[in-house]
């Protein structure tokens, strides 16, 4: 289009020059000739106007067709999504971790510690289902090392913007790791011992729960669930971890009650406290072990490259047998500072102090190690731990171990 005015001017000059050549170099065109020139120019202008209008119309048509095509594509996408509505509303994910433990003075071990798949489904904007299915130690069955477990299978309901209820099998709101334990989210090949021996993570129960939060970062949880059924005799007597019934035909004579208060109102900071009350920690099956209460509190702080985790947990059990065994008071705590010199590398050290039911669960332990995240969802880990057991009894040995691990989530 840019050359059109030039074309018009050139044609005028051409006509003008023809007139000059026809009548002589200095001849002036007659009125008739001028009229002819004007008519010619007018015709040219009309033709150009028409052409411009047609071009504009064609451009508008092209835009309209392109828009219609895109809308059609988007509608097809939408309809396809509608046909496969359940696919959109159903989510699948998982995580896993492989460990290598090099023990000093003992057999070394390589173990597919966990492989977990989770499935979720959103029935409506306000009702959803979530489940977690786990295979521990690579296999399960009679005489095998591992287990197949359904750790979560619950329905969750939004009661309002700030309050939810859930019913089913779910993780108890206690500690740092119990609800969030994908391998890339914590340091150490093995999870810390306090959240294994004192808080029996992963700890799930069947029941119902309510939780709510405020816009200042304070949140609360209450839950009524199945409870522990701990032994009062044998090698696992009064061991909390062995008391988990895993919601497998669980005895529900005596329920447990959990409450948590949490503050996360400053990015990078979490302060929380949980109380769990077991109305009868043996489900009434063993004399001398009655109710028990767990008190737990923790802090998490991450600022830039620095991180700190600290947790304290303590059980108090009532009953003549548990008192006589000295297992009525079980506690543990740890502190774990960390530093990330690079975005993908984190270094940490951890000190733990435990006083559990069994002799081998009474120790203090130092641990140092590193995590490397080649991808945000993939982690490689290495650590060294040095455990000093309080007791000299057999089976309660010190542990020195070098560990390697790989973990992933998707």
């Amino acid at each position: 289009m840019k050359f059109k005015p030039f074309t018009l001017a050139a044609s005028c000059l051409l006509v003008w020059s023809q007139l000059i050549h026809a009548d002589g170099a200095t001849a002036t065109p007659t009125i008739e000739q001028m009229w002819e020139i004007i008519q010619s120019q007018q015709a040219e202008i009309e033709a150009l106007k028409k052409q411009q209008k047609q071009t504009a119309q064609q451009a508008a048509d092209a835009d309209e067709k392109a828009e219609a095509a895109v809308v059609a594509v988007e509608e097809v996408d939408s309809k396809t999504a509608g046909v496969a509505n359940w696919v959109d509303k159903t989510t699948i994910g998982g995580y896993g971790e492989l460990h290598y433990n090099n023990f000093e003075g003992e057999d070394n071990e390589i173990d597919l510690h966990r492989f977990v798949l989770f499935f979720g489904h959103e029935f409506t904007d306000s009702i959803r289902f979530f489940s977690e299915f786990e295979i521990e130690h690579g296999e399960s069955g009679d005489g095998k090392n591992g287990e197949v477990e359904v750790e979560q299978a619950y329905l969750e309901f939004d009661l309002s913007e700030n309050m939810q209820a859930k019913g089913g099998v779910f993780l108890l709101p206690v500690g740092i790791l119990n609800e969030t334990h994908e391998p890339g989210t914590f340091y150490g090949v093995e999870r810390n011992n306090v959240e294994n021996i004192i808080i029996p993570s992963t700890w799930w129960e069947g029941g119902a729960a309510l939780n709510g939060h405020f816009d200042n970062g304070i949140s609360w949880d209450v839950a009524i669930t199945s409870g522990l059924e701990m032994d009062s005799t044998g090698k696992n007597a009064f061991r909390v971890r062995s008391g988990r019934q895993k919601v497998s035909k669980a005895t529900a004579n005596d329920l447990s009650y959990t409450g948590r208060l949490k503050y996360t109102g400053i990015p990078g900071l979490e302060l929380a406290g949980t109380i769990n009350y077991q109305s009868n920690a043996s489900q009434g099956n063993h004399n001398g072990l009655n109710e028990g209460t767990l008190y737990e509190t923790h802090a998490v702080f991450n600022k830039g490259a620095f991180g700190l985790r600290a947790l304290y947990a303590r059980w108090n059990f009532n009953g003549s047998a548990v008192s006589a065994a000295g297992a009525d008071d079980q506690y543990g705590w740890y502190i774990e500072p960390s530093y990330k010199p690079w975005q993908k590398v984190g270094l940490y050290t951890r000190y733990e102090k435990l006083d559990g039911a069994r002799d081998q669960d009474q120790f203090d332990q130092w641990e140092v190690g590193a995590n490397y995240w080649p991808h945000p969802d993939v982690v490689l880990k290495a650590d060294y731990r040095d455990r000093n057991v309080d007791s000299n009894s057999s089976g309660a040995d010190d542990v020195k171990a070098f560990d390697l691990g790989i973990g992933y989530q998707f």
Binding site: E161, A208, D215, Y257, P267, S279
Partner: protein, 192 residues
Amino acid sequence: MSASRADFLAIIRSPAPVLQSGVLGFLLLIPFVVLAKGPYQTTEAFLNEVFDSAPPAAEVVWLRSEIKETTKEILGHAYPGIRVRYWGEAGRTAWILEEVGKTQPITVGLVVNEDGLESLRVLAFRESRGWEVRYPFFTDQFPGTRLTTGHELDRDIDGISGATLSVRALKKLARLALYLHQQTAQYNDTSP
């Protein structure tokens, strides 16, 4: 007081299946009594707020070759569409973008002014955990954030313990809005 406390403890401690089942049943019934949730703010309300009740007509950024690749690099996956809609006026652009946190999409409204993020607001959050990212005590970290040449945010955003994936989703969307803004006529008209 002591008598009532003792009574309460006695009831709680007793294997009273009637009470326990009653409380359990009550909790399980609650969801069927009250159900109310929707987006915290609609797209229309968000745009009216951003543009003083007179939002401009929507425009689009086409995800052509290089833009498509960079978008994929930022999100870690392809954008589900061939164009991204935005609303722009006087060097400001508003975007409604979505990204999955752990299992559910989080809908976010973002406003970019010249080179920096003016605001980030979560319009709908559907995840079970990580609700903290909805609130100003978290989102207030974003205004003023710019994009580096490597398409990263130019400052650290402190995370929320237990909400790593939701935080990551919002950071991705902030980067995406800043990048797409640079592809708009609004930016090219005002950029030096």
